[in-house]
């Protein structure tokens, strides 16, 4: 699973992580009780001894079945994945408001420096060459 990578990346041993019996004891008890009840319910069921027969379906039939009968669910799932993608992009921004402000701070200088053709390739990413570019632009206009 993809999760293993993230576990390795973000895992840090916290001191509260499953040390004593009292930490994982109740959870293990709940899990064991749940498992016992589940197994008892399944094995009590008279239909649980039925031997499974193997079945083979062609991918074409499967796709036809899927898109004939469950097309609405497919659309809903695709919408869900799209919303998840948008959410990731929104959440994964490095620093949201600060980065946008920085872009706004850079952009007017970029627009002003876009008027002259000389300093356009020099200062796109770095603000300080742009200021030099505008200064040189003023000097150039004064000289013209």
């Amino acid at each position: 699973m993809v999760f293993v990578l993230f576990v390795i990346m973000l895992f840090q041993r916290s001191p509260r992580e499953l040390g004593l019996l009292s930490d994982w004891g109740p959870a293990m008890l709940a899990g064991v009780v749940f498992l016992a009840v589940t197994v008892a319910m399944i094995l009590k069921d008279p239909g649980s001894g039925v031997q499974l027969q193997s079945a083979v379906v062609q991918p074409r039939d499967f796709g036809r079945f899927l898109f004939d009968r469950y097309w609405l669910a497919i659309e809903i799932v695709s919408l869900l994945l799209l919303v998840a993608l948008v959410a990731i992009i929104q959440l994964g921004k490095r620093k949201g408001a600060d980065g946008e402000e920085a872009e706004k701070r850079v952009n007017p200088i970029g627009n002003s420096s876009r008027c002259d053709s000389d300093s356009k390739p020099s200062g796109v990413f770095n603000p300080t060459p742009k200021q030099h570019g505008t200064v040189s632009n003023g000097v150039k206009e004064g000289s013209q």
Binding site: M1, V2, F3, F6, V7, L10, F11, Q12, S14, R16, E17, L18, D23, W24, P26, A27, M28, A30, G31, V32, F34, L35, T38, V39, I42, L43, D45, G47, S48, G49, V50, Q51, L52, Q53, S54, A55, V57, F62, F65, L66, Y70, A73, V77, L80, L81, V83, A84, L85, A87, I88, L91, G92
Partner: protein, 101 residues
């Protein structure tokens, strides 16, 4: 195939309870998400077993939907965990005790 129908469900219940223990016991958001993922996979196993039992294709279709929903859940959950880790420097859910920071 000589697998009885109940054994598939016992396997699904076993994996589900393992995911439940992982979800309850760990004090780590990523391990919690792993637990939810394992529980979803157990439900998918149950769906496929029932699909074989009654020879219907709906179980496999729902397995596909479970995979898609799990992918969406994993991605959004991981993005949230990374965002919280950047804001607070911890992935312990008990550290998130303030609503505004």
């Amino acid at each position: 195939m000589i697998v009885p129908f109940g054994h598939v469900f016992v396997l699904a219940g076993l994996i589900f309870s393992m995911g439940l223990v992982c979800l309850i016991a760990h004090r780590n958001l990523i391990m919690t998400l792993v637990g939810v993922e394992v529980m979803m996979n157990a439900a998918a196993i149950a769906f496929v077993g029932a699909s074989l039992r009654w020879q219907l294709m709906e179980g496999q279709v729902f397995m596909l939907f479970i995979l898609a929903v799990a992918a969406a859940e994993v991605s959004v959950g991981l993005a949230l965990v990374v965002s919280l880790y950047r804001r607070t420097g911890s992935i312990d859910p008990d550290r998130y005790n303030i609503l505004k920071w």
